[in-house]
Amino acid sequence: MKKTILAFTLVIILFLGGCLAPSKKGEVETENTSYPLIITDQLGREVTIEEEPERIVSGYYISTSLLIALDLQDQIVGIENKPEKRPIYKLAAPRLLQRPNVGTMKELNMEMVLELEPDLVILPVKLKDNIEALEELGIKVIAVNPENSDLINEMIAIISKATNTIDRGDRLVEAIDRYTKKLGTLLDGIDEKTVYLGGNSEFLNTAGSKMYQDTLITLARGKNVATEIEDSYWVNVSYEQLLKWDPDVIILASEAEYSKDDVLNDTAIRDIKAVKNKAVEVIPNNIEAWDSPVPSSVLGSLWMASVLYPDKYSNEEFNLDVQEFYSTFYNIEVNVNE
Amino acid sequence: MRNELEIRNLDVFYKKRHIVKNIGLTMGTKEFNALLGRNGCGKTTLLKGILGLIKTEGNILLNGASIPTLGVKEKAKSIGYISQRTDVTYSIGVKDLILMGLNPHLGTFEQIDKHQELKVIDIAKELGIEKFLNKDYLTLSEGQKQLVIIARAIVQDASLLLLDEPDSAMDFVVRHIILQKLKEILILHNKMALITMHDPNFALSYCDNIFLMKDGGLLETIRVKEDGIKEIKRKLRLIYGEIDLIEYKGSFYMVKA
């Protein structure tokens, strides 16, 4: 009896301790957001949101996708240019294709934003100058910078808190976490294969260790051959370098201008393991571009795992996981093999 | 063979303006003739017209051949041109500059052979500039530079030399040397020369005939050896106004009256 009371007391103390622990930036403590609230965005700015936003403008395809996942597509009044490029809109929120366009990652159409009278604007940090200008005009802007997995999770937390969708936000983060852990468990102790990632603009263009694409590979327990490159942008490499690396697998970025066949038929690299074994695949983008830091990007790592280690994680299993993800968060039925 | 230049009814146009009007003159081999006149009289334009650099109408016959109908290279075989200054942007060997004179006689892709190079050395010796052959043209004095250009014109083997104020950049002493040398070369190599000048005295000292131009037309021709002092004075007065003529050691000199 005494032991049980002691154990019970301990649990209560721990529970109380957990509740009273100071919250880290971005972590939410309550289920419902209470307005007005002050948010710190990913530029470090403090933004005051007076009330739950009804009219949201998203100038970034990543935040637009997130808003759909948080079931907020009806509140979106303006989105980024060229939405027809993204299959996910047609699949999950076709009405978004009719919304006015507010600009690109390089340039924002300020007047359009103002015309839409938004309660909240979400923009990438690259548009810092526009953000400051909007701020002066009294518009609430949250800047996002999803450069790696942690920052993606942080972005989800910030946006869900600002829009009173903390529940869904938490579940999204938890799902991402779950898939990530799944990979860890499935592939624990595996003999890592070497991977070369060919860039969008050119095959001999690749991403080094500091880039987001590197995370994609490492989560899938692959070894990025270009890990010695420390640039934080895409770099050119030579054929010789590629021959020296001799990767087991070659992955092409989802929007590559060249094809898998171009690589397989390139005589300069026919002696590479990946080409000899025909282990060349393109990251799919028939639903979303999984090699960019969209909320669903963990699926990119899952896909890569299914390509690198099909006997540990088959294509069928992968398809099931993808279907689960999209039906839960985007309310759509998908099939990766279409 | 007797060289002869015959110009009849020549009009020369520069930038659509009719500068030289209805000129006629003749020149023969070994003659050293001058074109004299005030600024703007058209003497440089006439020279460029004979060369074919600008538009002309009329007859220019050199040794019977009509010059305006000839191609650029053919023309260059018969007419040599020495301008006021030959400015080059970069250092260039004197010998390379002189060798350019061989261009009219070579096919498009034909290259210069040793035999022709030797000929160039001979001509350089004649003009007293053989020690400069390997030197940089830019390091020469004005007089030496002009001798190089004259050497080039001789290598060109043209029967008519046209010189546009070639002495204007030189000092008094060098001018005399150059003009003297030129006269010797003409006689030795059977060529004729037409030179534009500002200073009538140099023309009177060295030239056989002086063509006097005014307002684009040929006013008079002074035959330096034949015309008497009164004739020459009269003709010069048509161009220069109040002048007088002095005789010294067999030559005439113009002074302000």
Binding site: L243 | Y90, I112
Partner: protein
């Protein structure tokens, strides 16, 4: 005859041969001198033979040819335009090629051969336009060529800016920027087979025309009086220069500085401007570009764009030579 140029040609040829051997030896794929020897005697492994004959050898040859062409053409242009600041850039070849390449990247999918053809056509079109404008102008002098070159450059630049604006920032824009910085990392034997004959033929004719080009260094009137038909010859020379440069640039992207500095270095070393000295300029260009490429491909796993290296190496060499009071020959 001034012995200077001849000694210079010999000296720089030796230097170039030496650099060539270094270039064979250096690369990301490890090959030691023994390997090179085995490759040349056809007794090495197939992989090493592939690396050497398909990658390293073509790259070395193309880099040497590119350096030579750019510098030789630079010498010719500085001569014809009587301007020590002239370079292949001023006749519109570079900006025309860039516009062509940008167009291919943005509108035609940016495949290697398509971009190559597009860049080549862009360069020739730019020159053609230049020549056309110059011929139609009232003043048929050298100045009109310079002005028309400026006009065409401006047009090409605005086309490039427009294309950059239309480009997808995620991939196409970077592609354009990389192209304009130049690089030899994609060179293989098959790509080089197209380019080398065209460049060599154009260079061959330029060398044949050297006498006329030397005469073009004089005033127009004087050149004409020496029997050179300027109206015909100058466009021909410019066209040949453009073809030579365009074919190089179409595979390598823009390589800056070599065309400007090769001629200067050659004139600093041999104080003359003659066709022999242009040869030296070409050999200097070859050597400089080869050194730059050796560094660009070996310092790190990622390729450094070649124009960065050429400027970095060329400028100090120029400064050093300017500081020396006496001349080397």
């Amino acid at each position: 005859m001034n012995k200077g140029p001849r000694n210079g040609i010999f000296g720089f040829s030796v230097l170039l041969g030496f650099l060539c051997i270094i270039s064979f030896r250096v690369g990301r794929y490890e090959m030691n001198t023994g390997d090179i020897f085995r490759v040349l005697t056809r007794t090495a492994s197939p992989m090493k033979m592939n690396v050497f004959f398909n990658l390293r050898l073509p790259r070395t040859i193309l880099v040497m040819l590119a350096g030579f062409t750019l510098a030789y053409v630079g010498s010719i242009l500085q001569t014809i335009f009587k301007n020590p600041l002239a370079a292949p850039e001023i006749i519109g070849v570079s900006s025309g090629a860039s516009a062509g390449a940008a167009f291919s990247i943005v509108a035609l999918g940016g495949g290697f051969y398509v971009t190559m053809a597009s860049a080549f056509i862009g360069a020739i079109l730019a020159l053609g336009m230049s020549l056309l404008i110059a011929s139609k102008s009232n003043q048929k002098s050298l100045a009109s060529f310079v002005l028309s070159g400026i006009a065409v450059n401006a047009l090409a630049q605005s086309a490039i800016m427009f294309l950059k604006m239309a480009a997808d920032p995620e991939r196409q824009l970077a592609s354009i920027e990389f192209w304009m910085m130049g690089g030899f990392n994609t060179i293989t034997a098959s790509k080089v087979r197209l380019v080398i004959p065209i460049t060599l033929i154009a260079l061959f004719f330029l060398i044949l025309y050297r006498r006329q080009i030397e005469i073009l260094s004089l005033k127009d009137d004087e050149a004409r009086a020496l029997g050179v038909n300027i109206k015909r010859i100058r466009p021909i020379i410019l066209m040949l220069c453009s073809i030579a440069v365009a074919s190089i640039v179409s595979v390598s992207g823009l390589v800056s500085f070599i065309g400007l500095i090769g001629p200067h270095l050659s004139r600093l070393i041999v104080k003359r401007n003659s066709s022999r000295v242009w040869m030296i300029s070409g050999l200097i260009g070859s050597s400089l570009l080869l050194i730059s490429d050796i560094i660009a491909r070996s310092i790190s796993a990622s390729e450094i764009p070649i124009s960065i290296c050429t400027s970095f190496i060329g400028a100090p060499v120029l400064i050093y030579l300017m500081m020396r009071k006496e001349h080397l020959v």
